[in-house]
């Protein structure tokens, strides 16, 4: 294992029981410190099942899963919670406390951090998600987007080296979704790794540098997001559609438009053409 590998999965196979078909087949995966990785695929492709192997909710039928240099097998889930933060798609599956602060402090308390450390972690997490002003608010009085941020903060407060986040932007408006992606980028920038399961291809193109595509329990492609989205065979097999910035960039490539991560970036380049000269002449 390379020194900075946080996750190392080798030849992973998994089925829900004897005689049942494999839902994960020969999965190999390495995630390094500070990497922000998107896991893409149709519903039922095996994304969440794979993710649940990282925090021990599922145990492999065959193969190995190592997180932070230690095999997941044999480690109790409560112990793995120190290393792997898992944020569920629906915040209402985990929120139970009467205030945002208590909710965010739940995880750090479970891990046995001293009170002053818990306060510090909670403050940092709430600052990061922009909910510092809502410490005493009842979480259920917040909107869906803000409850999602509470859920994210409650996992970030545990300060795990690896964060697995399932559909972080589902049900959120564009402003909220952008906010989540920006905080994930900031978090990854501090040296932590993130595996984000998502269907939002536009956000992946704009914010996530590495993408993995799954279909039928296998990883079909793994690489720089811009390259993965240009593999028509992979997108077709995974029933995915390349996001608009990628399509626009490719169509206008003969005219000198570079690869763009967002519509705004493409528009900026096209506008530059109208302002004077071709894309190519400006590159």
């Amino acid at each position: 294992m390379t020194d900075d590998a946080v996750v190392r999965v080798r030849n992973l196979r998994f089925s829900y029981g004897p005689g049942l078909p494999d839902v994960l087949r020969d999965v190999d995966l390495t995630i390094r410190a500070g990497e922000l990785v998107a896991l893409l695929g149709q519903n039922g492709a095996g994304k969440t099942t794979l993710a649940k192997h990282l925090n021990g909710l599922h145990r492999p039928t065959a193969g190995t899963v190592e997180v932070a240099g230690r095999p997941v097998q044999g480690q109790p889930l409560a112990q793995l919670a120190r290393t792997v933060g898992f944020c569920y798609q629906n915040p209402d599956h985990q929120i139970f406390s009467s205030s945002v602060e208590k909710e965010v402090a739940f995880g750090p308390h479970n891990l046995g951090f001293p009170p002053e450390k818990v306060t510090e972690l909670v403050t940092a997490a709430l600052d990061l998600v922009g909910l510092s002003g809502e410490r005493d608010t009842h979480p259920f009085s917040l909107g869906r987007g803000q409850r999602q941020l509470v859920a994210v903060a409650s996992v970030l407060a545990m300060d795990p080296p690896l964060l697995v986040i399932d559909e972080p932007t589902t049900g959120m408006d564009r402003v909220g979704a952008t906010q989540v992606m920006e905080l994930l980028t900031t978090w990854a920038g501090s040296g932590r790794s993130i595996l984000a399961i998502t269907h939002d291809m536009d956000l992946v193109t704009e914010y996530i540098p590495r993408a993995m595509v799954m279909a039928g329990g296998r990883i079909l492609a793994d690489g720089p997001t811009q390259d993965v989205f240009r593999r028509d065979d992979v997108l077709k097999e995974a029933h995915l559609v390349a996001p608009a910035p990628v399509v626009i960039s490719d169509r206008l490539r003969p005219y000198g438009l570079p690869r763009c991560r967002s519509i705004a970036e493409a528009v900026e380049h096209i506008a530059a053409v109208h302002a004077g000269g071709t894309c190519a002449s400006r590159l």
Partner: protein, 267 residues
């Protein structure tokens, strides 16, 4: 593990297709009556075997029944520990942690465990072999108002849904370091708030959403509601229902006469 969203398992067996839901309900109530009339483990054991034979005839799989079987083993074991503390009749066998275990105490404990197990299995096989739509249709056919029938079948429908919700919530909280495997049952019960609060909240929210969604689709708009399910109460049903009535009559008679009762004056 993926959780099924309905208890019902359609194997296409004669128990599923060949028996009217009203007949199954009659037998469900009959088995409840039998379980309450007798308290001899032998009699209850015979009925338990009969119920398991129905499960085999219905081609239910081990996987469908595993949870109920584990629950039954746990209940019988618990009953074998609790009841000897209250029953002193019979031959003395041993004294463990201050409880005198006697033959009658153990047999009565076994009977009480079997009594609950019989009722659970009867209800489980009824739900596993009857679709929610046919349960509702059966309840309507015996004269229950539609809303009551729907409420009952929805309750059954909600069991696996709530189980799935509970599994997800438990996973989410365990991922945040919640460990409910340690400590005594009382402490664990109090520490289960992080699971119970979201579970109840989700249950209320789901119910509220369902109510609004049903209203929006014209629920209760007026009389003359039609149904996609048609029932047929044939000869087999008539014979089985008559047998059920006879079984209840015999069970009540036995109870009055004191037959099939392990210890006089007990439940």
């Amino acid at each position: 593990m993926p959780v099924g969203y309905s208890v019902y398992r359609d194997t296409g067996s004669a128990v599923h297709r060949g028996v009217d839901p009203r007949t199954k309900m009659a037998w469900l109530l009959t088995l409840f009556a039998v379980a309450l009339c007798f308290n001899h483990p032998l009699v209850l054991g015979v009925f338990m075997v009969a119920v398991l034979l129905v499960a085999v005839a219905a081609r239910l799989r081990w996987r469908d029944l595993r949870g109920f079987i584990l629950l039954a083993i746990w209940l019988i074991a618990l009953s074998l520990i609790i009841w000897p503390a209250y029953i002193s009749e019979g031959r003395h066998l041993a004294r463990i942690i201050g409880i005198d275990f006697t033959t009658d105490g153990l047999l009565f404990g076994l009977a009480m465990g079997l009594r609950i197990t019989l009722m659970i299995f009867a209800a489980a096989i009824w739900m596993l072999t009857t679709s929610p739509q046919r349960i509702t249709a059966g309840l309507l056919a015996i004269g229950l108002p539609y809303k009551v029938g729907l409420a009952l079948s929805s309750t059954i429908r909600f069991i696996p849904l709530m189980h799935a919700e509970r599994t997800t919530i438990l996973e989410a909280q365990r991922a945040r370091g919640l460990d409910l495997s340690r400590g005594n049952p009382i402490r664990r019960m109090f520490r289960a708030a992080p699971v119970l609060v979201p579970l109840f909240s989700r249950a209320f929210l789901t119910t509220q959403t369902l109510t609004v969604a049903m209203d929006a689709r014209g629920f209760g708009a007026g009389k003359g509601r039609t149904s996609i399910v048609t029932l047929h109460f044939g000869t087999v049903d008539r014979v089985l229902t008559a047998a059920a009535a006879l079984t209840v009559a015999v069970a009540v008679l036995c109870r009055v006469m004191g037959w099939g009762v392990l210890i006089e004056g007990t439940l």
